[in-house]
């Protein structure tokens, strides 16, 4: 539900979805392609044949290794050093950085901020589910409503940050609108440490409900609609249809969204960084990591923080595989 998590959301989702059985099986048939070739040939020909697939994957795999795996490996190494990012020497200091992550209140307290975003992601999923359900049945102007609900997801994060900075200004849009309903003396939406995370999480709901909505909508519409007709003939009302048909039918997508909500709320970054810069107690784990690395020049500690986040995300994903065994990764 968060910036970073949802930017990569399709990727995560993808990783957890089963390949349709048919294509998977077909894919595993290793005889494809090579089966058509004549067997044998000279030694040089065989070498060239073995090399060809590697030439095709070289570019993509190369980038993957250089910009994902090499940094990830370095991350593990940096995390046990006291490196500042500039020094030529890196002193290995064991697990001190990890101890620091869990004992320094400045670092550990930011996990509390994640809870706001985690709670918000339930609001987001509930809203998305509600609108996806009602827009799956005949509704006038359905395409207009779909478009409007989804549109915020496409807007540039910095633009959203400014839009909501403007909205939350003291005496600004929100305060004026609340004034119409007789609510005077509103809080400082972004200035009050008690409120700021709620305001930011609400911004996040505004931004990401559309994505959940479209995913749910797609899933609901893939349920064959004869089932609804049968249910209607049996006298099931909309509410019963929702519980008996829709919810079980889109169980997987809901489950995945739930998992993404956890890893997402731990890696919130863009909205609070743009809007408050992490001020007033709105700093998230990723903002802390980044500022530890680049402002406080403590790459070792920041790496340990990144590794901790990585491990949590891996655990969450692992749990997801256990809870939703259907969705085993089946790519090869």
């Amino acid at each position: 539900m968060t910036d970073t998590a949802l930017d990569t959301a399709p990727a995560d989702t993808r990783a957890a979805v089963t390949v349709p059985a048919g294509s998977g099986r077909r894919f595993r048939g290793d005889s494809r392609g090579t089966g058509a070739r004549p067997v044998g040939g000279s030694a040089r020909g065989r070498l060239r044949r073995q090399l060809t697939p590697w030439l095709f994957v070289a570019g993509a795999v190369g980038l993957l290794l250089v910009f994902t795996y090499w940094p990830a490996a370095n991350l593990l190494y940096y995390s046990i050093t006291d490196w500042d990012g500039l020094d030529l020497t890196k002193n290995v200091i064991g697990f001190d950085n990890y101890v620091e992550v869990f004992t320094n209140p400045r670092i550990f307290s930011v996990f509390g901020v994640s809870l706001y975003y985690f709670a918000a992601s339930f609001v987001q999923m509930a809203l998305a589910l509600y609108f996806a359900t009602i827009l799956s049945f005949s509704t006038r102007f359905a395409n207009f409503f779909k478009g409007v609900l989804f549109f915020p997801y496409l807007i540039n994060g910095v633009a959203i940050g400014f839009v909501f900075l403007y909205l939350f200004q003291p005496g600004g849009t929100l305060d004026t609108a609340l004034g119409w309903f007789g609510l005077s003396d509103p809080p400082h939406w972004l200035g009050d440490p008690d409120i700021v995370n709620t305001s930011l999480a609400a911004t996040s709901v505004w931004r990401y409900t559309g994505l959940n909505f479209v995913l749910f909508l797609g899933a609901i519409q893939s349920i064959p609609h004869e089932i609804y007709e049968a249910a209607e003939l049996d006298g099931a009302n909309r509410w019963q249809q929702f519980w008996a048909i829709i919810l079980p039918g889109i169980r997987r997508v809901v489950g995945l969204s739930f998992i993404l909500a956890i890893s997402g709320s731990l890696s919130v970054f863009e909205i609070p960084f743009i809007m408050t810069g992490g001020a007033n107690g709105s700093s998230t784990f990723v903002i802390e990591t980044i500022s530890t690395a680049f402002n406080f020049r403590n790459v070792g500690l920041a790496s340990a923080m990144a590794v901790v986040l990585l491990v949590i995300v891996l655990i969450v994903t692992w749990i997801q595989r256990k809870v939703f065994p259907d969705e085993k990764v089946d790519l090869t």
Binding site: R32, L63, F137, K146, G147, F151, G157, V158, Y166
Partner: protein, 295 residues
């Protein structure tokens, strides 16, 4: 979509048999449904429309009027001119365009080639390559930037557009996966026929596979295009001296700190291309997102 929205209503026998009470209940349910939709539309559009209103006011007018008061002149575009020129947004748009086009071409070239090899060849290490792409999706990229930064710096690419292009090009599993799915629909007999005619693997890829992958390429262009256009963090970190559209806008925080009418204009300028793209490509965007995510 239309399959569900155009579904026939209840059988008329059932309708005529309904009591007044149940018809009333149906009516109030319908009202509640449309009411909730209208509220959702208001909540979505209001924050955006007040920014639009603010962008059309003069500085003096902005100070004296409330956020919902319409601007005196709906065609006052001065703020947009100010934002565009002093905010260096032209540079931002041009840089974004360059990065977008080059990294899209790169992603498509590398992604389709990789997918071609993974789908059409049997080779040792194929499972390993798949595994590498899958595991990579689990690493939250924002955090690993701590270490990625050192790599980019070590390659001497810090503060260049090349750094961004390479990072965006690092083809993700979604692109490769989409390509593979589409490629599985292309009959292998086409490859075999070409091979009998003496075509080599590269020719097959270039002349047969690539043209047939157009729909998948369109999907990837849309998904990736949106992602690159909206990306904030990578340009913020790796290209401090030039602006992409996100970072150009972010810089408004400094010099225009209190001039909300100019910031609002800049914000609207950044959103406009998204609106145009959305209106033109709506259907493909939905399709791309759902096929990219949950198929």
């Amino acid at each position: 979509m239309s399959a569900v929205t155009t579904r026939p209503g209840r059988p008329s026998a059932a309708r005529s048999g309904r009591s007044t009470a149940s018809r009333l209940r149906g009516l109030s349910a319908t009202t509640a449904k449309y009411l909730s939709l209208v509220i959702a539309v208001l909540v979505t559009l209001l924050p955006l429309s007040v920014v639009l209103i603010a962008s059309l006011k003069t500085s003096q007018e902005y100070g004296q009027t409330g956020p919902f008061d319409p601007p005196a002149n709906w065609l006052n575009l001065d703020n947009f001119v100010t934002a565009f020129t002093s905010g260096e947004m032209l540079e931002g748009f041009l840089n974004t365009l360059v990065v977008l086009v080059v990294s899209l071409i790169g992603t498509i070239a590398l992604g389709t080639m990789c997918a071609y090899a993974l789908d059409r060849f049997a080779f040792r290490g194929k499972k390993l390559v798949f595994g590498l792409f899958l595991v990579a999706t689990l690493i939250p990229s924002v955090t690993s930037q701590v270490a990625t930064f050192q790599v980019v710096n070590g390659l001497g690419l810090y503060d260049t557009k090349a750094a961004l292009i390479l990072l965006f090009m690092g083809t993700d599993i979604i692109a490769i996966y989409l390509f593979i799915q589409f490629m599985q629909a292309i009959p292998v007999s086409l490859d075999e026929a070409a091979m009998i005619d003496g075509a080599n693997r590269w020719t097959i890829y270039w002349r047969i596979i690539l043209p047939l992958l157009k729909p998948a390429i369109a999907t990837v262009v849309i998904i990736k295009g949106i992602a690159v256009y909206n990306e904030f963090y990578l340009p913020f970190l790796y290209l401090p001296s030039e602006g992409l559209i996100s970072t150009s806008l972010f810089r408004f925080k400094g010099p225009f700190g209190a001039q909300w009418e100019v910031i609002a204009a800049g914000t609207i300028l950044v959103i406009i291309p998204t609106i145009i793209a959305f209106v033109l490509l709506q259907r493909w965007i939905y399709k791309g997102l759902t096929s990219g995510a949950v198929k």
